[in-house]
């Protein structure tokens, strides 16, 4: 991708080892920024993930922990409900959400893009946090409650530190979900100045084959932040999962 982006635009995309004989040029980057306001879009996308990712971690982790504290039959019902939510296609929610956000006067703002973080962005992330919190000893939680800690402080001082690696993995997954979100910004935003990076990339993708390096230049710009995010969170994703709180309940 990087080598392709270093080709000057104006010729069909190279194939095979031709990639390695490139005369490096930044013309494709210049043209990408000239055609599409990639800088502004990068900033917009970063703003959204800066709010949505921490919000996702807090909401998913709190919800996951809360489910572990439910008694029968609510515990089973909550897990089943979350699994059922996981099966609902995203496209089925576009028009209802559009109508809701229109009623709230939130169209053409970032609210519709950030709001899903309030329910953990995806039911899968809530389930991840639930499974992680479920591995903690119930005695430990009960002891913390006996020591006078309220539910929120138990979550903050006991659950979150012990499930830190899962929280980081959830943060990375939430980052990817919000960073790559293409259809919702297109549906809910109308002001071009508020557009996010996937929209800019999609615009570049409509160019002809002689502009393939321009598309790749845009892809490089869009890829750097997720790569950095994964570099930070990789230990949580790749390290021994047992130490991440994913231990069988005793």
């Amino acid at each position: 991708m990087v080598l392709g982006a270093l080709h000057p635009p104006g010729a069909p995309p190279p194939v095979g080892f031709e990639l390695l004989s490139v005369q490096p040029s930044l013309d494709a980057f210049a043209r990408a920024f000239e055609l599409v306001p990639l800088g502004q879009q990068l900033l917009n996308s970063l703003t959204i993930v800066a709010i949505a990712v921490p919000l996702t971690v807090v909401c998913a982790s709190l919800t996951g922990f809360a489910i572990t504290r439910l008694g029968r039959p609510w515990h089973g019902l909550a897990v089943t409900f979350t699994l059922v939510c996981l099966t609902i296609p995203a496209s089925a929610l576009w028009v209802p959400r559009f109508a809701v956000f229109r009623t709230l006067g939130a169209l053409d703002t970032y609210v519709p893009l950030i709001a899903p973080a309030l329910v953990g962005t995806s039911p899968l992330l809530v389930l991840l946090c639930y499974w992680s919190a479920r591995g903690l000893s119930r005695d430990l939680i009960d002891a913390a409650r006996l020591a006078g800690l309220g539910p929120i402080r138990v979550w903050w001082q006991v659950v979150l530190p012990l499930t830190r690696r899962t929280a980081m993995a959830v943060a990375a997954l939430a980052f990817v979900a919000h960073w790559g979100n293409f259809i919702e910004p297109l549906l809910y935003l109308f002001d071009t100045a508020k557009a996010t990076l996937p929209i800019g990339l999609s615009s570049l993708r409509q160019l002809g084959p002689t502009d393939a390096p321009v598309v790749l230049a845009g892809a490089v710009v869009a890829t750097v932040p997720p790569v950095l995010a994964f570099a930070v969170a990789q230990r949580a994703v790749l390290d021994d999962t047992r130490r991440a709180g994913w231990v069988p309940r005793r």
């Binding site: 576009w94 559009f98 229109r102 297109l186 109308f190 002001d191 615009s203 409509q206 002809g208």
Partner: protein
């Protein structure tokens, strides 16, 4: 295709369920809005950044000339453009003006969300119906009323590599050529290193083969119920196009997947490829060889297929302001800006037949091909479910072209999947 189809299907279903918010809006008062009372409007358009930049420039000159503001809402992909329009209409917040291909008009006109353009055009001082080519005007009619005003009127044509023609000893096509001349050229241009011809077969690109063979595409152009690919003329048309791959004159499916036909043409390894006018800006970047454009080959009769987008106005309180923008964008100045971009054939006769479009100093030298085609082209049907029917047909035709299924099987599947679905 699957994901995009899902996007469209999802919002189409939602539109059907939730009704059309636009219908509840108060009907626009007829007449011309005064400059000071004209509100800001939004114009939703799809295309690549170069294409949408033309509209941004046009909106700037509109602001300069009239003091009125048009916000350009650019949507990169056509399917998402349709999805956004459908969602917007469904929830009662659609753009005041949008550019729409006539093939997708039926779904919107059927829901009553488009403000018919006919009465406004008849009252307009800027232009009359006669100023436009009749075939694209007819394409934007729905149930007898003009819904949108055509902005461009392109057709399927044959782009060819002049250098490869000369090297293969093939005479250039000129203003007309037969199917035999076309296939002879394809055969001679096919060598170990080059293919003679390339086409991405789809419904819109299969239709002119049927018309050229003297057939009709559907049983009733206004209220179609089935395709007529299974008539002798329909079969002949399909056999002609499928022969291009069967005879080895065009790339295989794997080759087309690994390198698209337009890329092959750009690098000089494809003698001819069939496309509409929209590829011209890309082709103008060619420096390694000379190229030009020829008409669609004639079989029993000359034919081509209409590619046309039109300015459509959403029903609503800002329809008058929207019409003012349409008048400006369709006016001579606006059309000349669009013609100069090279990618569209103007729908206004005066502009299409002027040097702004026919300028022979800019390739293709034979742009007249597109103007000539305007008298012999056919349109695809405009129905409520055309988009869905076309999607199903495209898949089957693709399999047929690359030899994955035989003609009879393709015809059976086409009948099974599209009869009565229009």
């Amino acid at each position: 295709m699957g994901a995009k189809a899902l996007i469209c299907a999802g919002v189409m279903v939602a539109l059907g369920l939730s009704g059309c918010g636009g219908e509840d809006e108060p009907a626009a008062a007829r007449g011309t809005a005064t400059a000071e009372a004209v509100p800001e409007i939004t114009f939703q358009v799809t295309g690549d950044p170069e294409e949408t930049r033309v509209y941004k420039d046009l909106a700037e000159s509109y602001k300069r000339d009239t003091g009125r503001t048009v916000k350009i809402d650019e949507v990169p992909e056509r399917d998402v453009h349709l999805a956004k329009l459908t969602t917007g209409f469904s929830a009662g917040q659609a753009p005041e003006v949008f550019l729409l291909n006539y093939r997708y008009l039926g779904g919107f006109a059927d829901k009553g969300v488009v403000e018919p353009a006919g009465p406004r055009l008849d009252k307009s001082n800027a232009f009359a119906r006669e100023d436009f080519y009749p075939i694209p005007m007819a394409a934007f009619e729905y149930q007898g009323e003009l819904q949108c005003v055509p902005q461009n009127a392109s057709s399927l044509a044959v782009y060819y590599n002049k250098d490869l023609f000369e090297r293969a000893g093939v005479a250039e096509p000129g203003d007309s050529w037969t199917y035999e001349q076309f296939t002879t050229a394809a055969d001679k241009l096919t060598t170990g290193e080059t293919y003679g011809v390339g086409i991405d077969l789809s419904t819109i690109r299969a239709a002119p083969w049927v018309w050229a063979a003297g057939g009709e595409l559907v049983d009733d152009p206004v209220n179609p119920t089935k395709f007529l690919f299974d008539t002798p003329e329909g079969r002949r048309g399909l056999e002609h196009v499928v022969a291009l791959r069967a005879n080895g004159w065009s790339p295989t499916a794997d080759e087309a997947d690994s390198k698209a036909i337009d890329e092959r043409f750009l690098e000089g390894s494809l003698g001819m490829f069939l496309s509409s006018r929209r590829d011209v800006p890309m082709l103008r970047t060619i420096t390694g060889f000379e190229w030009d454009v020829a008409p669609f080959p004639t079989d029993v009769e000359p034919a081509s297929v209409l590619h046309s987008d039109g300015f459509c106005i959403a029903k609503g309180e800002h329809a008058d302001a929207a019409w003012l923008w349409v008048e400006y964008a369709l006016g001579k100045a606006g059309q000349q800006v669009l013609a100069a971009s090279g990618r569209s054939v103007p729908s206004l006769k005066a502009v299409a037949e002027s040097p702004a479009f026919l300028d022979p100093s800019e390739p293709p030298a034979n742009s007249k091909v597109f103007v000539d085609a305007l008298s012999q082209m056919h349109q695809l049907p405009v129905t409520a479910n055309w988009s869905e029917v076309e999607g199903r047909t495209d898949d089957i035709l693709g399999e047929l072209y690359y030899g994955r299924i035989e003609l009879d099987e393709a015809l059976d599947r086409l009948a099974k999947e599209t009869d009565g679905q229009f």
